[in-house]
Structures are given as C-alpha cells and as structure tokens.
Subunit: 302 residues, 2 copies
Amino acid sequence: MIDVALPGTGGMMPLPDRGLSCLLLRIEGRMLLFDCGEGTQIGLKRLGTGFKPIDGIFLSHLHADHVSGLVGILLMLANSGREDPVRIFGPPGTSAVVAGQRLLARHLPYEAPVTELWPGESIDIAGVAVTCAQAQHSTYCLAYRVDLDRRPRFDADRARALGIPVHTWRTLQQGESVEHAGRVFQPDEVLGPPRRGLAVAYVTDTRPTDELARLARGVDLLVAEGTFGDPADQERALQTLHMTFAEAAGLAGRAGARQLLLTHFSPSLTDPLLYAQSARDVFPETILGYDGLTLTLRFDDE
Amino acid sequence: MIDVALPGTGGMMPLPDRGLSCLLLRIEGRMLLFDCGEGTQIGLKRLGTGFKPIDGIFLSHLHADHVSGLVGILLMLANSGREDPVRIFGPPGTSAVVAGQRLLARHLPYEAPVTELWPGESIDIAGVAVTCAQAQHSTYCLAYRVDLDRRPRFDADRARALGIPVHTWRTLQQGESVEHAGRVFQPDEVLGPPRRGLAVAYVTDTRPTDELARLARGVDLLVAEGTFGDPADQERALQTLHMTFAEAAGLAGRAGARQLLLTHFSPSLTDPLLYAQSARDVFPETILGYDGLTLTLRFDDE
C-alpha cells in the first residue's frame, strides 16, 4: 500500500490559496518527500499526517520553487525529535545548494547526507527502489519512479507438507533458503509466482519525452506537472519547457500508466477544473490535484 | 504618514493560519521590509498592498524563521518587473547567508547589495533614517528604528512680505538658501519651528534591555515581539531569550512609546487575545498583532 498526498499543487510561486507543488508518499510507515518549495512545511502541517518518518527528500531540480523550503523542513524535523538520518537527493549541484540552505540550519540533531544522482541511477530507501531519469527543462532536472515490490504468496499448506518448521517460514518468505533436518529448502519451493507491486512516477518541470514515458512504464500513478490547462497555452508550454494537461495525459497514455494525477499549476491557471476534459479526452483516468489531496494505492486484489 | 502592516505574526515556524513575523512599512510610496521568514511572500500577496516598491530588506538576525523567505521575495520582485536596486541589511554574517540563498536566485534583473550593520549604525533609505541597536538573543540580533522627519511649516505670508519669488520657495523649504535681487535669504527666515516627525521601532527576538528602550525612545509605534502571553511562561522567556507580553509592555513604557504592537507569537500561543490584559495592565496602548493587520501613523495635527 502507498499513501499519496499533495501538500501543494502550484508552480513558480506560492499563492495564498495554493502551495508550491510537491509529493509526499507514505509506504509502510515511512515517508518520502519529492520537492519542497517555500511553504511546503505549512502544507505538510495542514495535511495532518505527520512528517517525522520522512527518510528521503528528492529534489527534481535546483529552482527555488522546488527547493527553498528545504531548511524549513529540516528544522521542522529537528523540532519533531528526529534522530535518524534524513537523506537528500537531487541532480548534480545539489550539494552546494543544500550547503547554502544549511547556513540557516548548521546544527541538526540528525545526519542529512546529500547524494547527487545521475539519470538512470537507482537507490534503495524506505523499503522501495527510487530510480531517476532526465527531464527536459531549462536546467538539469530529474524525474523519479518509486517501486514497491510485492512478495510472492507463501504456500503454507505446501510448507507443512514438506515438513518445514513454522519458525523458519519468515526466512523463506524473505527469499532466503533454510536448512532443516539435513535438507536445504529453497524459497521457490514454497513461494507462489511473482506478483505485481506498486509504482509511482513523479514527473515535473519538463516537456513530455520518450525517456519519461519509459521511466513511468506501467506505473499505478503518474504524478505529472500540468502547468497549463488551456490548449491555447500550448506555445507557452513549449517556450517555458512545461506541459499542458493534454500533453501530460499523452505521456500517461504512452507510459501505459493506470492513473494520472495532475499538479504544478501555473499561477495564471486559477481554476484547473475548467480544463479537466482536455486531459480526459486523451487519458480518461486523469485526476486533478488540489492542495491536501490524498489517495491510497493498493496491491491488486488487496 | 507611515503605513504599517504585519504580513505575519508567528515565531519559530509558520503555521497553517499564522505566517512568520515580519513588518512592512510604506512611506510616501516606498516600502521597507523587516525580516522575511518562509512564507513572507504569501503574506505580502495576501495583504494586497503591492510589494514592488520595497527598497530595503532588513534582517534582525540570521535564524531561518527570519530569513529563509528571502529568495522568494527577491524572485517575486524580479517577476514584478523590479529594476531598481533592492538593498539588504543585517548583522555581520548576512553576506554569507544571502549568498547561500542566492544560489537559488543567481540572476536578478536588479542589483541586491548587502550591507552588514553594526549596532549604532544609521543609514538613509526611502526618505527615512534607519538606525540599529543590539538586541539580546542567542545569536547576534539587531533591533531597528525608522525616523521620518517632518519639514518645518513654510510661512508663505512672511516670504511674500520679504519679496522672495515663489519659484524659489521650494529651495528654501528644502533647507537651502536662495539669492534674489542681490540679497541672500536663509531658510530660517521663512520656516517655522522644528516639527515632530514619525518614528517606528522594530524589536524582535530579544530580552528587554536599556539599549532597546533608548533605541525606541518616544517612537510613535513600537513593534515588539511578545513570544509568550501567559505570565506563567516567564521562565521560558528567560531561557529562550524572548519576552512575555508584560515585558514588551514594560519596554514600551520605559521607551515612552506612544503605542505598542505585539507580534512574533510562539506556536504554543494559540490565542494571543487571552493575554492582552497582561500587557495593557503595564502599558495601556497595546495592540495585539494578527496576520494582515494594517494601521496608519500620521503626523500630529495632520
């Protein structure tokens, strides 16, 4: 299960009634935050879901509207009693920018190591794999994909029939072999076929590209920027290297995503709902984001 | 005339319903901003009074809740078409912190020079004099005083009687002498006695001290932190180097201020109004700040 929340949904600058866009994922009690512009800590508090379990903060790119709330998040975590490390990820250049932010948070009660990622890299954190790809923006920008694997079903009847003691089942379930009464049991003797996991992609501040469609292949949810709603803004989307709703919907279709969640609305886009149909005409399973939206992704048949 | 606004009134961290404390002054069309924590640009937008005329940003000290909105303000001014310089002032160390923030705003369409101030320094900006004094906090912290002078009244009857041509009156009014028909006229021949101007002091993140009472001597308005309302929090105020409402009121009294405006409320202080009386018992002319408060200071008899 993955809980998805949008603490904010705005692009470029925070507005009185729309925070800057970011994405919060909660996976089995741990959290990952994607982007943190000015005011993200306010959006997190308004959500009311807590934030202390944030293990990783992923920056898409080094523009202020995606980064300048970082020091606030770090200090908020400090005030919440956080002691475990909080890892920060972003494109090359992230270390220097974080160091600049940290001039206002020199001493934290936890470690906050920075890892600069190159497109294609993948890291394990909070029980998931996070992979990045290059987006197409005016500065180096990364899109992210989160994969939560699902363990194969454990066949208890078969395990009993084979005489495997119950206290060793957990080891087999975790994919390791077990020795008992002079015999070695392999996991595939008691585990069912592979099962589909859950995947989320976060794609913002970019034009739609093949690389991003590949990154988001078959995800349960594509969280994508739809900076412009009105199809008449197509030219602006091209010039500013952003997407219209219809373009984001096209990307969701090419990726074979199950659902699309639009966010990162231009300050000039006062009512995104007006243009929902322009996305749904292309990709019916489109959800329009709003500050405070939460939804839950569940494994198939769960 | 000075227009005073509080875009936010919170200390330590922004809350969903209370922005971080700062002070905006508008003086004859120009503006000065004192402190800019995360979210101050949101408070400014909510005020609706515009922000493009901000000529100076004064930082009291280099804690995140007073500084980390700076990059947002600078970018917002850039987006508003600002081209004239925006000067930034703060205690020693400000240059490095601003440089850290500017990693997210490397290119601005205007100059943004930084001046580090030592206690006692005074600078002229936007038609006023701004003087600073040292506050007593856990880091180097400055309090500020703004003085708007009022020109003496011009005695038109006397100027006519002396035969001074009308087109030279403005020069005399500005305090410069004028030569006409072989005679030199001095300003004091046509100007009335000195007149009281207007003064505002901004005192935050500090214990009450004699130095601050001197800085705020006779001001029309003392904008002061009242981090704690409940007199039972006196010990916390001492430990954290902040003030209770009653202490801020005592400072206003010692300074001989005309009015006190309380701000910078602790996140734990959910309803400052509950403790208004504890300030008014000490200094009756106490106003409780709230996000979006505006008031106007006028010259006497204006």
